[in-house]
Symmetry: C2
Subunit: 352 residues, 2 copies
């Protein structure tokens, strides 16, 4: 949608476990953010995930996909349940959405908000974003196995990397770095071992750097990057990396910045040929599902990314400010709030 | 060699950068540990790494490999230099040794010694080992690229996993877990995305568990494992994982337990069809090379793993005890010691 549109059509995929609980609060805060703005939201709920799969055997039909495609954006809670064989919903639903809708920029901020406790003794000022590639790498589903279950089984997984795919995400990352005060981009890969893919990434970063001469570039092997994330996370500004390394680094980044209860993400189609998708980094957490224990903050911050993506910058900022204010006061709080209470408090701050 | 042999023949590959500095101290401590034991060491130095490559274009010739093969064990410092194209020495020398000598168990302890400062605010009691597979996965060198340097470049990397390869390392990990007080094994993979490789690993762990019924098994996706390594590292006892995930997790584990200056590793051929190789986890650190700044402790702890592998358990323990005592006193030390001073102090403790 353009910023002067008055109606956002939102596809809602609450999904499994705590997904439904956190999405409810995300929508509450979204409503609060848009109140009085002249912009309305119409939501379509999609029954996707474990329940649907158990009932019908379907993960994401062509019909579902086309219906979702007709929306301006997608809000997703969490996908996955131990009752469903591993990979079925991840590959057949979550990754299928990311791939089919060409979400090649998986944006994951790593920000330590004031008042939030990091597991690090001296985290410093942490405020970076990871631009994780979303449509290539070892996530393409290009694997297979022979002689399964025998002593002669061979199981392969292929990481596919293209100049087209790497260049577009690298360019997006450079543009983000150029727009930030520090203008620093760190490429993370493992080019001393994964030489073919790694050299493609490296050459691409070098080439695109010419278009963004004011951006400083450095490189870290993925193993070294995990070290810096715990010894000196404030060294990072923008990180660009492949799908799998990005998956790993962003969970670690979430831990360092206060936990996955706070970690937001945006699966962005920068060309806007399909709706982008906003989701917390955390999973469906079946162990705490249905108990009102989940922290909806990651979903609320994902709503801020959604608003920003739709050009509603003031509203996005209001949501992020509400979260920041809430987090700053949590330490002093008398008791732990339920999922719904946190959502209500955040909505009230946004409104107020 | 068997434990009643009186002579260890050791191949020494000091390598690049700080490699030569730390290996010198490792050998000093090795000598001290064996003094009076009736076991002697004869060393053969192999000139391998950046200097040799620049001089001759060679990384590791068949002749080098056969000569190394004739030894009881290998002590390696560090390989790699920015003057050599990325991948040349890593693939052509370090990984070639690991693969050719069938080092399928890459053992990396993650232990927080008393007195050592962790970047974590509350690390707890950290004492685990990572059993990283060393001869398969995305490290096999089974990648390639087409249309290199054009907008149509495609670069693939293949992770190869076999029942044979996975089972042998999983069995080794179970045996290690069974021999430890907590008897806990955590499989780390990403079977919800890398379904073929992941399911092979998972099925193998389930199957081998039957041979070790007293070992408790759990599973973590690699992204979640990085979270626990910073929020609750004491939950881990033995981790078994693939080559790439093991590379990433062990650098993170090193950071959490006081830094790569302390992280030891053993590339083990458990079948003893070829010599095993002992090396610090850190690299050649060209930025501090030649300045006496490198901490030789990781190499000295690798020497302890070497002694243990050769059946010299008392001597191995003496080296580890010397390191533990040295680390316990470091906080109170008046000044930072040089590489050689640390080595001398450790050797004195071992002797004393
Ligand atoms: C559930 C899983 C497929 C997913 C991923 O690996 O991308 C998740 O870990 C994430 O980071 O969004
Ligand atoms: C230098 C590199 C090839 C190596 C690896 O990736 O195995 C190193 O990072 C290690 O962990 O020993």
């Amino acid at each position: 949608m353009s910023s002067n549109a008055t109606q956002i059509s939102l596809a809602v995929v609450a999904g499994d476990g705590i997904g439904t609980e956190v999405v409810e609060q995300g929508l509450l805060v979204l409503d609060a953010a848009l109140a009085g703005s002249g912009v309305g939201v119409s939501t379509t709920e999609f029954d996707l995930g474990a329940r649907r799969w158990h009932a019908t055997g379907e993960t994401l039909t062509d019909g579902d996909l086309e219906a979702i495609r007709a929306h301006d954006a997608i809000l997703l809670g969490a996908i996955g349940d131990p009752s469903v064989p591993s990979g079925v919903l991840e590959r057949g639903l979550l990754l299928k959405l990311r791939f089919a809708l060409d979400h090649y920029v998986n944006l994951r901020p790593g920000k330590l908000f004031p008042g939030v406790t990091s597991p690090l003794a001296a985290p410093g000022d942490v405020d970076f974003v990871v631009v994780r590639e979303g449509t290539e790498g070892p996530y393409v589903g290009n694997g297979g196995a022979i002689r399964v279950g025998t002593p002669h089984e061979v199981a392969n997984e292929v990481s596919v990397n293209t100049a087209f795919g790497v260049e577009r995400v690298v360019r997006d990352a450079f543009a983000r770095a150029a727009a930030r005060p520090r203008k620093k981009l760190t490429l993370v890969h493992k080019h001393n071992v994964l030489v073919h893919a790694g050299h493609l990434w490296r050459r691409t970063v070098e080439a695109v750097n010419a278009e963004f001469p004011d951006v400083t570039v450095d490189y870290l092997h993925v193993d070294a990057a995990t070290i810096f994330l715990v010894t000196n996370p404030s060294r990072f500004d923008v990180i660009v990396t492949d799908n799998l390394f990005g998956d790993i680094l962003t969970d670690l980044a979430a831990a360092v910045t206060g936990g996955i209860g706070l970690a937001a993400s945006a699966n962005i189609n920068p060309d806007r040929t399909a709706p982008s998708m906003f989701e917390p980094v955390h999973g469906s957490a079946p162990d705490i599902a249905g108990q009102g224990k989940a922290d909806p903050t990651a979903t609320v911050l994902s709503v801020a990314l959604l608003l920003d993506h739709l050009g509603l910058r003031t509203q996005a900022q209001a949501v992020e400010d509400a979260v920041a204010a809430d987090l700053a006061e949590r330490g002093a709080a008398e008791r732990v709030r339920s999922t719904a209470e946190v959502g209500k408090d955040l909505a009230a701050r946004v409104a107020g």
